[in-house]
Amino acid sequence: AGSAIVQATGVGDFVVDSSKAAGLENCVEPTEYMRRNHMEVIRHQRDTTVYGGIRSTKHSLAGCVECHVGYDAQHKPVGIDGDGQFCAACHDYAAVKLNCFDCHATVPQGEAWNQVRATEHESLLPGVEEQAD
């Protein structure tokens, strides 16, 4: 799959068709900018999160994964660093080592407290209606 993706030209080459991103216009920053500078963006986000406790999703790695992760026929997410998947396809092509996923989840799984759990948690709070699971 990797080579098929890789051969194409124009912006958006690497975006996996089944991912959420495929249906959207632009990345979190202008795509041209992201192609060149995404590492700076997430690196900055990383420090903001770790030291400042700011976990906004705009530049967060979890955000990248969530939007860019591809899905298989069973609608199961495929690891974003898998062969031919978004990060890996591009990084393999450019031979840039990507070790983020040594630690980080490659599919959205047990997101930060706010993203999945808070929804349920919040329903327990007084004055908030319980939401369906």
Partner: protein
């Protein structure tokens, strides 16, 4: 699969969460908005009550009070909850490792300790995790500054700069830290983890940062109706933790080191 497990935990949680609910009441709207995936809006004034857009400050210092007399023999709810919350249960013993050694090699953020007084024979139970020292020796010794104390008093490891030298483990008097000895295949988005770095209890920082003033271990203990762990802001006299400490005398483990720990114990 693990998502399902998360949900189950959540269902359980609903039964007991009432106690903590008051503290987070103000955040409900914000948390809800976040859950929709929208961008966090700046929660005016008190940023703690919602996902933050400003860096943490030293207006708070998070800490715990443990009443060892309430900690039940045989209970490990807090340990299990922490394992679930922080993905520690996803660790797997490397093929070929010695079982006993593995117990000593796997990451543990909180452990159940059982003591007997040599004089009286009295048995005490307590949960032991990172004490979030105000003057943390682990931070002092870390060569790269990967071990650090957040402005709000949480001591953590920035695992992007940790080189795995393990000097902090040598320095910590509480054996609170763990080194990841093996490759980790399964991980949660909220708890990244990888071989070669050191980690320890971070007071469930992801919860705090998204506006929830609770930790998995305290919640779990309460859920079991033991209420041995009380979590809160040590700087806020009205916080549950301060109120609990006001009622009982508490001590620090290894008080002689004068680390001014953020976790205090009654009954040791």
């Amino acid at each position: 699969m693990s998502q399902e497990r998360d949900r189950e935990v959540n269902r359980e949680r609903r039964r007991f969460i009432g106690a903590a609910a008051g503290a987070v009441a103000g955040s409900a709207g914000g948390a809800g908005a976040l859950a929709m995936g929208a961008l966090a809006s700046s929660a005016a004034g008190d940023a703690d009550a919602a996902a933050r857009t400003d860096p943490v400050t030293d207006r708070h210092r998070w800490g715990m009070f443990v009443d060892t007399s309430k900690c039940a023999d045989g209970c490990t709810a807090c340990v299990d909850a922490c394992d679930q919350e922080n993905g520690l249960n996803l660790q797997s013993e490397p093929h070929g490792d010695d079982e006993a050694k593995w117990q000593n090699q796997r990451a543990v953020w909180i452990r159940k300790v059982k003591l007997r007084d040599q004089a009286t024979g009295h048995v005490t139970n307590l949960p032991l995790m990172c004490q979030h020292c105000e003057h943390p020796p682990c931070v002092d010794v870390c060569p790269t500054g990967a071990s650090f104390k957040r402005a709000d008093g949480i001591v953590m490891v920035d695992r992007h700069t940790c080189i795995g030298c393990r000097y902090c483990m040598m320095a910590c008097p509480y054996k609170a830290r763990s080194f990841i000895h093996e490759q980790v295949d399964q991980k949660l988005t909220r708890a990244p983890r990888g071989m070669g770095c050191v980690e320890s209890c971070n007071l469930c920082a992801h919860r705090l940062d998204t506006g929830d003033i609770s930790t998995a271990c305290a919640d779990a203990c309460a859920a079991e109706n033991h209420h041995a762990i009380v979590f809160g802001d040590l700087k806020d006299p009205t916080s549950p933790v301060r109120q609990a400490m006001a009622k009982q005398t508490s001590r620090q483990i290894r008080e002689d080191l004068e680390l001014n720990t953020g976790v205090r114990y009654a009954g040791i």
